[in-house]
Structures are given as structure tokens and as C-alpha cells.
């Protein structure tokens, strides 16, 4: 009892010292999205879809929904707790389920399905121009998410000094999930040091050093091991150096980056890889033309375990939702390659899951037009994607690198300031890398998707 009192007293004293005398603010944000989908490719779950006639010969029709609620408890301008939760699932999936995510939308509902995306403390360090975020938080690299764009637990320090911004952080991606492993022994960790300078209001440049350490050999043989090119390997050490920049010149905005990876892992030669991007946005008419070129280096025998030249993204090892990392926010594709622009819910799928493309790398070009007139918004996009390296083994052995061309379009209407309704269609013209996916010389059916989306954000 006495010990409890001491703890309570200490907690109260700490709280009193940390919280200035002012009103406690409650801030709420959130979103709700529901969509009706018809597609021969989407299967109501997440992950990549292997191109084959059995996988593409039937049309699937379903409806899913996702809601997110963010609650921010602001003690002061310098201290707040950020929490972010998610509830999502497919209509009719299951009901009365205990402890199952993405479920509970069948007759009766009543499932325990609240997911925690973020819980972190956001505070300014007294006496120093430094902001700290500590806990499970959103983590975006400075390279359009090409290495990591996901939720991760860690600590991130940010300091703004005039026109310069410096970030330093450490995140623990995984820690000893197999039985018998000591905590902190077999981990996957990520450290970052980002710097950027706004040279003028129209020019910004940045540079980074990232260090990625993966000793998570426990994943060997698990169902999700195939998602991570390094699964089962030990002592994966990657050093990354990158530069990035953006500039505005009249109606044209350009940006780009180069991110170099150098490292090693057990039983493999040196890793020597990179990713590069150039993007442009040109205002035209009631919208803007957007274009992006992306190249990530690959190895020719990725399926055989050769990752010497494979650009690596920090993928999610623990579930089939690994596509949430290593995405590329400049992608405008829905089916061919998953980008950030058209992410909707937990049923998003694609042919290429991430920028490493399981070690083969990718070469991709994206172009599109995005505009709005009054309350009507619209976009139309095209993209071509290829394996960066011709493969000597696996699915693409001795085949063309060309994976395909996607076209998609969306038109929508802003019903209210925060509520949008839209229809979107997309299809992929399969490239010659998929020849023989329906018989000796034939191609599997052309992937397609049509959906109606209702999206509310606040």
C-alpha cells in the first residue's frame, strides 16, 4: 500500500511538473471509407496476386469498409498524447469474433476488432528546440516511402534551426518473437539521421544516413518469410546514404532522390544497391500533369537467394500486410504496383507488392492528370512497370522484364467539404513477362477492377 502511495505521489508530482496550468484540449480526427468492388484480381484480402488464369478467371464482388479514429490529448502546446485506432473489414466476413482484426461485418457484428495504429507521446524538450515523438507512430522516410512508410515503435527527435531541419530516430521493427529468444537479442532495428534545408522558399535539399540491422532469423520457414528477401538470414546490416531535393519553377515542380544501400548479411556477398526517382508536376488547365520515374536495382537470381544488387525495403515480416511498407508515394497505379495515391482499405492488392519486388527491382514510369472543377474531381493515369533485372530463376526465369501497362481513371464529386463519392476503374495489359500464364503461349485474363468509393475524412 505504501509503495502504491509513493508511486501515485510520484506520478502526480511528475504530472504537475510536466503540465502547465492551462486547458486540456481534446482533438479528434478520423476517416471512414466504404467501397463496392468488382474485380477479377482482388480477393478480399491483402498481399500480392500471382498472375495465373486460376487467379484471374473469376469476377469477385464485395464491399468493404474502413474507419479510423484519432484522438489527441493535448496537455499543452508542448505535450500531447496521440492515439490512432482502426476498425475495418469486409461486409459479411464474420461475426461474434473475439480478438480478430479486419473482421466482424457479418450478420450480428459484435466482434472485438479494434486495431491500434499509433500510440505515442509528442512533446517539446524544455530549453531546447527539439521535438520528440516516442512510441508507436507513423514513420516516413525522406524518399517517398521507398524504404519505409509504415507504423513503427521508436523515438524520433526533430529540430528546426532556421531553414534547416534535422531528424534523428531509432525504431525497433521486430524483437524475438520465437519462443526461447531473449528480448533484444534477435531484433530488427532502424536508425535514421535526416537533414534538410530550405534554400529558398522554392528550393529544398536534403540528405540522409539510415542504418538497418536485421538479426531476425526466427522467421525462417514461417508463412510470411517469402515476403522479406532477407527472411531467415542473420546479421543483415545495411548502411544507406541518400540525397533528395525539390524545386518549384513557375508552373513546374520537380523533385527527386537517390538512395544508396551498402551492407552485408550472413552467407552472401556484399550488398550494393540503390533506388532513384525523378518526378515532375506541371500545372495545366484545371489540374496538373504528374509524372514519376522510379528505378530500384535488382539481382538477376533473386529467387535463388542472390540479393547482392537488390534494393531492399523494410517490409512487414509479421503478416501478409507487408505491402504497407516500401511503397512509393509517387505511384498512381491501382493494380500493377501499390502506391500511396489510391490506397483505400485492407483489401488493396497488386501484382508488384513493393519497391524491392522480391529482389528483382523495378523500373517504372508513371504519368497522369489530376484535376478538379468546382466539386467534381477526376484523374486519369497510365503506368508501365518492369523488373529491373532479367531473371535467371523463379517465376520470371529467362522471360521478358516487362510486367505490364496499367491505365486507370476516377471521377468523383464532393458531396460536402469532407465527403467524397467517386467511381474508379483500372485494368492492366499484362506484359510479356507473363506470357504462358494461360497455357504455353497464352496470357492469363487481363486484371481489372471497378469500384464505387464513399470517403469521409475529418
Amino acid at each position: 500500500m505504501k509503495k502504491k502511495l509513493v508511486v501515485l505521489t510520484a506520478a502526480a508530482a511528475l504530472g504537475a511538473a510536466a503540465v502547465p496550468a492551462m486547458a486540456f484540449e481534446n482533438e479528434f480526427h478520423g476517416m471512414f471509407l466504404t467501397q463496392g468492388i468488382t474485380s477479377n484480381m482482388f480477393t478480399g484480402t491483402t498481399g500480392t496476386v500471382a498472375v495465373s488464369q486460376p487467379n484471374l478467371d473469376a469476377t469477385k464482388n464485395f464491399v468493404d469498409q474502413r474507419a479510423r479514429l484519432q484522438y489527441i490529448a493535448k496537455a499543452s502546446d508542448d505535450l500531447k498524447l496521440v492515439t490512432h485506432f482502426e476498425l475495418d473489414g469486409r461486409w459479411g466476413d464474420s461475426s461474434y469474433v473475439a480478438g480478430s482484426r479486419n473482421a466482424g461485418y457479418a450478420l450480428g457484428g459484435d466482434s472485438i476488432n479494434l486495431e491500434t495504429k499509433n500510440v505515442y507521446l509528442d512533446f517539446n524538450i524544455p530549453g531546447a528546440p527539439v521535438n520528440a515523438k516516442v512510441g508507436l507512430q507513423g514513420l516516413n522516410d525522406a524518399y517517398k516511402g521507398i524504404f519505409v512508410g509504415n507504423d513503427a515503435a521508436g523515438a524520433l527527435l526533430t529540430s528546426k534551426l532556421g531553414a534547416a531541419t534535422v531528424q534523428a530516430g531509432w525504431f525497433r521493427f521486430d524483437d524475438a518473437r520465437a519462443a526461447g529468444q531473449a528480448l533484444g537479442k534477435t531484433t530488427r532495428d532502424f536508425s535514421l539521421l535526416d537533414g534538410s534545408v530550405a534554400v529558398t522558399k522554392d528550393i529544398k535539399v536534403g540528405a540522409s544516413y539510415y542504418y538497418y540491422y536485421d538479426d531476425n532469423s526466427s522467421l525462417t520457414g514461417t508463412a510470411t518469410a517469402a515476403n522479406n528477401v532477407f527472411a531467415g538470414k542473420t546479421n543483415v546490416k545495411l548502411n544507406m546514404l541518400g540525397v533528395n531535393g525539390s524545386a518549384a519553377m513557375g508552373p513546374v515542380n520537380v523533385d527527386g532522390f537517390f538512395l544508396y544501400q551498402n551492407g552485408s548479411f550472413s552467407g552472401s556477398p556484399h550488398v550494393n544497391a540503390f533506388a532513384a526517382n525523378v518526378g515532375a508536376k506541371v500545372a495545366a488547365g484545371p489540374g496538373a500533369v504528374k509524372a514519376n520515374l522510379l528505378y530500384t536495382s535488382g539481382s538477376k537470381n533473386a529467387a535463388g537467394g542472390d540479393f547482392g544488387n537488390s534494393f531492399i525495403s523494410a517490409m512487414n515480416d509479421t503478416s501478409s500486410a507487408y505491402m504497407e511498407s516500401g511503397i512509393f508515394s509517387g505511384a498512381n497505379t491501382v493494380l500493377l504496383f501499390r502506391g500511396n495515391g489510391y490506397r483505400t482499405s485492407n483489401t488493396d492488392q497488386s501484382l508488384v507488392g513493393d519497391a524491392s519486388n522480391k529482389g528483382t527491382g523495378i523500373a517504372a514510369a508513371f504519368v497522369g492528370y489530376d484535376g478538379a472543377v468546382g466539386k467534381v474531381f477526376f484523374n486519369a493515369n497510365a503506368a508501365v512497370v518492369a523488373n529491373a533485372k532479367k531473371q535467371v530463376s523463379g517465376t520470371y526465369a529467362n522471360k521478358s522484364q516487362f510486367l505490364g501497362t496499367e491505365i486507370n481513371a476516377e471521377v468523383g464529386y464532393k458531396l460536402y467539404d469532407n465527403l467524397k463519392a467517386s467511381v474508379q476503374g483500372a485494368t492492366v495489359f499484362l506484359g510479356s513477362a507473363f506470357s504462358g500464364t494461360d497455357g504455353a503461349n497464352g496470357y492469363a485474363d487481363q486484371p481489372y477492377l471497378g469500384r464505387v468509393i464513399l470517403s469521409y475524412t475529418f
Binding site: 486547458a23 476517416m31 479510423r68 502546446d77 529544398k204 500545372a283 489540374g287 484535376g371
Partner: protein, 509 residues
Amino acid sequence: MFTRLLLTMVLLFCSLPAMAAPVRVYVEEFKVTGAVGKDDYRQALQSLLASRLSGENVTLAGANEAPELKIAGTYIVFGKVFSLDARVVTGSGTFVGRAFEQGESSDDVIPAVGRLADKLSAEIAKLSAAGPVAPAPTPSTGHKEVTSPGVTVPSGAASSIVRPSRVETAKVEGDIIRAAGVTKAGESGMIGQRLDGVMVGIAQLKGAEKGKRDLVVALERELRLYGQDKGLTLLATESAFSGTEKILGVDVADLDGDGVEELYVTIIQGEKLVSRVYQVEKGKFRQIAVNLPYYFRQVMTGSGVSRICVQQISLSDDFYGDMYELVKKGNSFSTNNPVKLPRFGTIFNVAMLKGKDGNPLFVELHPDGYLTVYDEKGENLWRSSDKFGGSEAYFTREDPQNMRVTGSRDRKIFLEQRMVVTKDGTIIVPKNEGTFVIGDSRSFNKNSIYAFAWNGATLDELWHTKPSQNYLSDFLYDEGQKELVLLEVVKKAGIFEKGASAIAIKRVE
């Protein structure tokens, strides 16, 4: 509240006699300070005063009777000088009046008591003339001591008279004085003219005849010039805006002092500022500058003069760098006099005024809505307890990296309400309220305008207007005519509807 009012009224009705009669007065023993022989003085002075109270309106009550008025006196001596003070209260303890007399020797005590009695008699006579006075409740009635809403309650319809009586009392008692001002500020009312479209900004051109105004209002993609007299007359429109441009605000100034005012129209296109400057010539809008990369806002800069200030947008900052004053030479524009804004400060949420020491102060509408005062070094001096400001005006910027989290490809950047600082340092701040204002979802439906003055430590409220049941999108203060001109949205835009606005005028006295 209602129960208390009812009880008070019942008590008043019960206490009112059927007809006017002399007021029963009881003089209490005096309190004596500084005199030798205090005990003697207490009763002697009580007796002297009681016997000198005169007139047909006064009868003396005994100690065991329920008096209508009680007089409590004090006798204070400092050296040779003395003071006789008397306080008149009702039987229930409500203060009615006071009087005093003083003298320079004990020889003057008895004459002074006489003079004091005359003064008190006169006061009692006034009260008696105004109407019967409520006696102290007697134990037999079973009434508890209840705070009386007023002292002078004429017979008749008590409930309709008590309220103004209370207001009148309030008028002479400090802080509540301005409660009457609130009422007056709401007298002018709305011009009963529904204007098509949701309007986002308003500004006034000078030069109109007295009692009239030329008003420029901005919609998202249109400018309109109205002549305001008893009604509004549309004089000119300007609608040469593309579908991708969005007007964020409009301000008026004669920057180069040539006698011709300019309109400074903040316009954003995508993520670029393409603001314009107009003049009104012969009743028409004439463009004199386009594609200016500035947010405009008329801001008091601490020198007692309001200027057009500007700020810019950058690749990564929604409000980039310092705030500058805009300079006009011919039809070209430049900036000077950078002002470093306080924490969270942008061109749209700050005003400047002079502190007691003459140094400039920043008044800021904090992102959480609190009115915050900073000194020029950025030290936070004060923060309000209530929230103010609140605007539905916003622009968007692409945010693809956070689409993963937010579910939206864009993020919203909300602007803030303008704050006006008058020549005498009064700062006028709007307040919008709404039942559905959560996160980035804003729908205000009620507003009022508040005025404050900096007293060196806090912002003291001077007055506020009574709430209006509409969202306030912008306002101006016509200091010459001492009128608030409020731009209100009376119907929000719907799926297929444009919405509507109206202009309300409120006189500030």
C-alpha cells in the same frame, strides 16, 4: 433559475402593502472607533440621530418591530477630527444609500448629527416617493432571507419592471454597465437581403456619402461591389477566375497614398499563390497586378496605422518566413519591414497593438482557438480561457505520404478570422461556434463579436454582441460610423445549392 425568480416575485408581491405609508425606520447603535467613552457614544448617537430624523415619511420603529429601513452608523475619531457615517439598508439587508458628515471638534458633533439626519431624511423621502419599501421579513411569515432583485419596486406589474430595474442597477455598477452596451450593439440588425452564394471576405471602400458604404465582398471565384444604404445594391462584379483558383480573402488600402484605394485579393491556385490587386474605377473592377505570390491581410503593425501585410507559401511551409509590409510604387509591389511572428503565428491569425510601455504586442488566435498575447520577443504573456475565432475558410495541399494514415490525398490548412485593432487600442475579435466542429470538419452556426483592451496584464472584455445564429465568414469595423459590418453565411452550400449570405450592421456605442 426560474424557481429563484418566481420565489423572488412571490416575495415581492407578498411584501407590497396595499397603499403608501410612512417608512418605518430603525436606527441601530453606532459603532465607535477612536473616541474616549465608546459605550456612551453608541447609544447617545443612536438616540440623537433617531430624534432628528424628521418628516412625514418617517416613523421610528422599535427594536422588536420589523422596520422597512435600518440605519447603521459609525463614529470615527482621528485626533480632533471626526466622521459620522450612516448606511441605509432595507429590512432584508439590501443597501439603499449612505451619507456622512464630519467635523473638527467634539463641539461640532451634535450639529453634525443634525445635518446627517437631514440628508438621511431626504434620501428616505425619495424612496418613499418612489413607492413602498419592502420590510424585513418577520419570523412569522416563514420566508427565508432572499436576495431582492431590486429596491424600488413600484406597485403593479412587478415582473415586468424588475428586469429593467435590475439592468439599470447594472448600468451603474462597473462591469455590468456594458451589458447595456451589448443590447445597444445589437440594435441595428441585419440588412434583410439574401445574397446568392457563400461569401468569404468583405472590405469597405472609402468615399461613400455619409450613412452609406461601398462594400466589396468576395466569393470563392467572384468579387462583387455593393452600395449599401438601407439596402444593398449590386454595382459591379468580377468573375474572371479559373476553376482552379480560390479566393481566400479581400482587403482594401491606399498604399501609395494617391487617393485611390486598391483591393488586395488573396488567391490560391493549387499550391501556388496567384494573388491580384484591383482598383475600382467608374464603378468597375480594374486589375492592376496579377500573380503576386502573397497572402494579403490588413494588419495593424503596432504604429497605430494599419498596413497591408504579406506572407508567402513555400514547398514545405504553408506560411513561409516572416510577415512583411507591402509597398506599392506605381503598379509594382515590393516588401519591407519584416515582422517576426510569435509561435504559431501566421499572417491570418495575428494582430498587433501597443503595450502600456509603448512596445508592440502580438495578439494571436492560437490554433486551439485561445486568444494569446505575446511580447515582441515572443514571450507568452497571457492566454484566454475561452475560445475565439474559428473559420471554415481553407486551402489544401497534397499530402501523399500521409495518405496511408489520413485516408486523404490532401490536407486542409484553415485560415483564421481577422482581428481589428482600433485607434484607441481596442481589439475586436470574432467568435464562431458550432455543434459540429471536430478535427478538419468545421460547420459553425453561431457568432458574436468581442472587444477587448489590454490593461498591461490581461485582455479585459469591453463588450460583445449578442449571438447571431449564423456563421460569420468575415467582418469589418467602420470606425468612423462606429458600426460593425458582419458578413454572415445564412445558408451553407449544399450538394446542388450555392448557399446564401447576408450582411448585418451592428452599432457599437
